[in-house]
């Protein structure tokens, strides 16, 4: 909730730039990972389910960061 409010405040303030974009993206990926780990309970599940989410977030995050870097 706190991280969401922080993201919203960034949007409200209108501040932008690559550092802000990367920070917001990092926070979003962290929140999504927390949903996987604690809400879905993948942290306590055996097998590769946790890895699937981690790889999805890592690939997605890397490509989004690349696209925003190119657009700077």
């Amino acid at each position: 909730m706190g991280l969401t409010l922080l993201t919203w405040l960034v949007g409200l303030s209108g501040i932008n730039g690559l550092a802000v974009v990367f920070s917001v993206l990092g926070v979003s990926l962290l929140k999504a990972n927390l949903v996987g780990d604690y809400f879905m309970g993948l942290k306590w599940v055996s097998g590769g389910w946790r890895l699937v989410i981690l790889v999805w977030l890592a690939v997605l995050g890397s490509l989004l960061a690349t696209a925003f870097y190119i657009a700077r």
Partner: protein
């Protein structure tokens, strides 16, 4: 998994298309209502938490409690639907649609695709609520409820990326 891949392709295509039209995307992105998006984000996170409580209650064989938590989660989902619908109606009244420009083409496609997932998730949760009510689940057999909960968390997870990507990052 299939849903996550489709959403990832949507997000990546959006970001790389934006790279070629930064000014257009930034201009129209700044016109979106971040307050409504915040309400929607809080709704989905809260709803996900309520479903965790529903599963936890069922693990203790507390059917009544579990049913109440699912209904609470559904209520938060309904607020999301109403808020997002209000946003779409506002765009419609302004004459903004899929064909307005590239940014809105992505905006409507991605958010409406997610919107449909929220509706499907609510149908699944409603089925979970019904089965909880009639005693179809128990502490030993709650796979159906856990599966519905996982789908709902996936819908939440996707929105946590969609919200900053479309409303905040520029």
């Amino acid at each position: 998994m299939a849903e996550l891949l489709v959403f990832a392709i949507f997000f990546i295509t959006y970001a790389f298309t934006r790279a070629a039209h930064v000014e257009l995307f930034n201009t129209h992105q700044s016109r979106l209502d971040t307050n409504l998006a915040l309400i929607n984000t809080l709704c989905l996170i809260t709803s996900s938490y309520f479903i965790i409580r529903a599963v936890a209650a069922m693990r203790e064989d507390s059917h009544q409690q579990s049913f109440r938590w699912i209904i609470a989660a559904l209520a938060m989902g309904l607020i999301f639907i109403l808020t997002k619908s209000a946003e779409y109606i506002h765009h419609y009244q302004q004459g903004v649609n899929l064909r307005t420009n590239l940014f809105y083409m992505f905006y409507f496609s991605m958010t409406f695709f997610h919107f449909m997932h929220v509706i499907l998730g609510m149908v699944i949760l409603a089925a979970n609520a019904y089965k909880t009510r009639i005693g179809d689940y128990s502490a030993e057999d709650l796979t159906g409820l856990e599966t519905g909960a996982s789908y709902w968390h996936m819908v939440d997870m996707v929105w946590l990326i969609l919200f900053p990507l479309v409303y905040i990052m520029r």
